[in-house]
Symmetry: C2
């Protein structure tokens, strides 16, 4: 049985997505789709799907359509989320509503969602169609729920850590989990293992997102790839901010709330002051402890998957690298 490295799988799915052609008319509908899918990205979800499939079978090319489907779905959510968030740039390029217009972003996004279903169905073995579609639709709906919570939380200042974790579970984790589960289902995995891989994905998704929240404050700008403090400047309700608001003493909480409402400020000063408050509360340690817990719980779930340990090494190594950890 052939085992692929994640790099090989990334290369293959990247080529597969790259050769898909959207030459249908009207161009005004399909050009933005080609543009969005051509922006690249880590192709994390299809790679996870292929890695899960490769735990059981080695003809990974059989599920390239489903892998492209989950990536198309993910890119659809980015397209519509960027429109709702009025974001101008994505991966250093103008977003669709900026480069074209809002109606194009709405309609091309709708078409991408339909295309993702077409891919998901394409050459899907009859015995798995029901399960695959059930997981995919439920997950797609949950991602919408996560985005709705995210938008609603923007208007609130009393979001709890539990509410925040549930929001990121829905908005981020379940799609990673679904990628793994669909890969497992298509590979013929027993129900129990498909479920374990799903739960592993949820834990890892939470760990990734918290790590992202952490790195926005404490990351090395050279490695992080984004500017440090971006979340602080736009008052984003991350795990860091919510935890600080929950745990800070009254005076520090007041100071933090003050920074949320200041209209006119020097960016560097705001970042430094808020970070100082985070330091005082000890948010970093709290966040790292959570990440650690999720990460370990995740690996423990993977451990239980009934597949020869050597065969799980690649998936494990892939996730460790993403978390920038040693095995």
């Amino acid at each position: 049985m052939k085992q692929y490295t994640s790099e090989q799988l990334l290369q293959q799915i990247h080529e597969y997505i790259g050769q898909l052609s959207y030459k249908r008319k009207p161009m005004g509908l399909y050009e933005p789709i080609e543009y969005v899918l051509g922006l690249g990205g880590k192709r994390l979800r299809p790679v996870l799907m292929l890695l899960a499939y490769n735990l059981y079978k080695d003809d990974v090319e059989r599920i390239f359509p489903q892998a492209a489907g989950i990536e198309t779905y993910h890119n659809f959510t980015l397209l519509h989320d960027d429109l709702m968030d009025k974001a101008d740039m994505r991966r250093n390029k103008p977003t669709v509503h900026k480069r074209w217009n809002e109606n194009t972003a709405i309609l091309s996004g709708d078409a991408m969602l339909i295309l993702s279903y077409q891919f998901m169905m394409q050459q899907c073995p009859a015995e798995y169609v029901g399960k695959v579609m059930e997981v995919f639709s439920r997950t797609a709906l949950e991602v919408c729920e996560g985005q709705q919570w995210d938008m609603e939380f923007e208007e609130l200042t009393d979001v709890t850590v539990e509410q925040y974790l549930e929001m990121i579970r829905l908005k981020t984790s379940v799609l990673l989990a679904a990628a793994l589960k669909i890969g497992a289902i298509l590979g013929g995995a027993p129900e129990k293992d498909a479920e374990l891989l799903y739960d592993f994905g949820v834990k890892m998704g939470l760990a990734f997102q918290l790590q992202d929240d952490y790195l926005d404050v404490y990351g090395d700008p050279a490695i992080f790839g984004k500017k440090i403090g971006g979340d602080i400047l736009c008052n984003k309700k991350t795990f860091m901010l919510i935890t600080a608001l929950e745990q800070a003493q009254e005076a520090d909480k007041e100071a933090l709330l003050g920074w949320l409402h200041v209209e006119d400020y020097a960016p560097e000063e705001k970042i430094q002051s808020v970070t100082a408050l985070y330091n005082k509360v000890g948010v970093a340690a709290i966040c790292n402890a959570r990440i650690d817990t999720y990460y370990k719980e995740g690996l423990d779930l993977l451990e239980q998957v009934d597949v020869e340990p050597a065969r799980k090494e690649e998936l494990k190594a892939f996730v460790c690298r993403l978390m920038d950890r040693k095995l």
Copy 2:
């Protein structure tokens, strides 16, 4: 074998859709969906699906989920189209982006599209899933293409009749056709009959839309239900306008183009003047001839469906009533 009247089917599917509950959280996502599906409407697509199914089988309740699915899809398109067209009202109620906001309209619409797929899959017999989903996804994509052409045509003054007909085929007809075809597939119809019913739906869809275009100019306001001349006032590129622009003598064409560009006018005067130009060109007769052709071609296709003639009477009568014609 039990044969239902279209009124009975309408009543049943109306109740089925009415008892669906969207009590999931977040309310901000699901309330607008319940609102849109509760606005009513003729439930034309589910009734057509049930009528087609009832040509072959009588346990119509088996396909209520699929009938609800096509109605949910249709209502999703209305929701997003209203947003793109900046329409304030739908069925005498504020549209979702007016009652809530634009982001809600985008995200609740996305969720409706996903829900329509869930309905379509729900209890769909394994043997038909592939075919049903193939027709549904292809059609859903074509409807997006139709909407894109429609928006692009707004910016053009040289749209041809052929381009217009292709646009309304995509935007309107294929969904009626797909409703019939999916009903037939689920009823176990032979491929050939499912195809004939699809083509019958396309023809009837074209006839409906042209009739709608016609009635905007020549309809009886008491029966039409909308104000006469609405399309004329907003320069909508209907079959009437496009035909008039194609067929008018130079001076009349100039006069017509003039009315398209006048900024300041008395509504009644614009309607009367444009109608007078339509009369001069003889647009009514041209339009009626087309409607007649599509209508007859449609009935001819239905004739060829290999089902006992008596059994097809209800579907035939339903379509005749919609077209306000005698059998």
